[in-house]
Symmetry: none
Subunit: 147 residues, 2 copies
DNA sequence: GTCAAATTCCCCACTTTTCCCCACGCGACT
DNA sequence: AGTCGCGTGGGGAAAAGTGGGGAATTTGAC
């Protein structure tokens, strides 16, 4: 089963609904049953995990030590922003208002397929993010992909 | 069975009743039979454990060495604050007055799903907690999730 | 032991939000 | 030119959260 890839710029209507690009919907595992966990990602974006993948994440979280202060801070952040959403008949999800606000989205969402999850950005925020990067693509690639 | 996640800001009425968010109620194991153990948590919050999960915790406590001074202190703290509560027909629990006072809750409760348990905070106290955190989310995530 | 007061429990009613269904427009491919 | 798939918008039904009242049970005092 292939991972998520590609990008799209879709509208976010007044009810906070965003269409999940059809190509990404086709990459969904039937096991996920059209439902996702949506939560805060890194660098002002929102992460969308298909249910089957989220289950695995939960198991990883459950292994962490709850008596460690930083673990608690981490868990509280990931989990309190998390919410369960499902595709409606039109292939859309409803973004919780607090995640719309967090990501700075206003009318338009930039959707990126990212293997096991989908990222949702405000288009302008994503541009800024790209411009902030100190190293160019080739340099980063070399560092990341060199063992 | 999915863990608890998400957040809500629900009212605490004059009788000390708080609605457990419906999404969290749906994540309950039928085995828990709508009853919980409520007790003192860490950092001025209150913890709510579904009965089935609390049973497991009790077994873990029973493994501890009762001839160790700190073990005794730990057990006395967890257990003396603990109380059993159940959902009413509207999906609410009644918070024991001493836990309302302990957490500083006054009219509004901030409820957070945290996998195997639910956390209940005073909203202002939770804000303070967040502001006290020395490291940001990205940094903490990298430290916690890097093996 | 009895009564009064307070607390708990359970039921009903209201308001707001959420969810689900239906209908439309655009573009691409046949 | 028609059809199919995809993305977009709105309206009505259902559910979630909130507040209050009355019966039953417990607590404490006399």
């Amino acid at each position: 089963m292939p991972g998520f890839k590609g990008q799209a710029e879709n509208s976010v209507d007044s009810k906070g609904r965003v269409t999940v690009p059809s190509k990404m919907r086709k990459a969904l595992n039937p096991e996920a049953e059209k439902s996702f966990t949506i939560t805060r990602g890194f660098e002002e974006c929102v992460h969308l995990y298909p249910m089957d993948r989220w289950r695995e994440m939960e198991e990883e979280f459950a292994q962490l030590n709850p008596f460690n202060r930083e673990t608690r801070h981490f868990m509280r952040t990931v989990l309190r922003w998390a919410d369960e959403v499902s595709l409606d008949g039109q292939g859309r999800i409803k973004m919780p208002p607090r995640l719309v606000e967090f990501s700075g989205i206003d009318g338009t969402a930039f959707v990126i397929g990212s293997l096991d999850h989908i990222e949702i950005w405000d288009p302008d925020t994503f541009d800024d993010y790209l411009n902030e990067q100190p190293a160019d693509y080739e340099t980063v690639a070399e560092r990341v992909m060199t063992v």
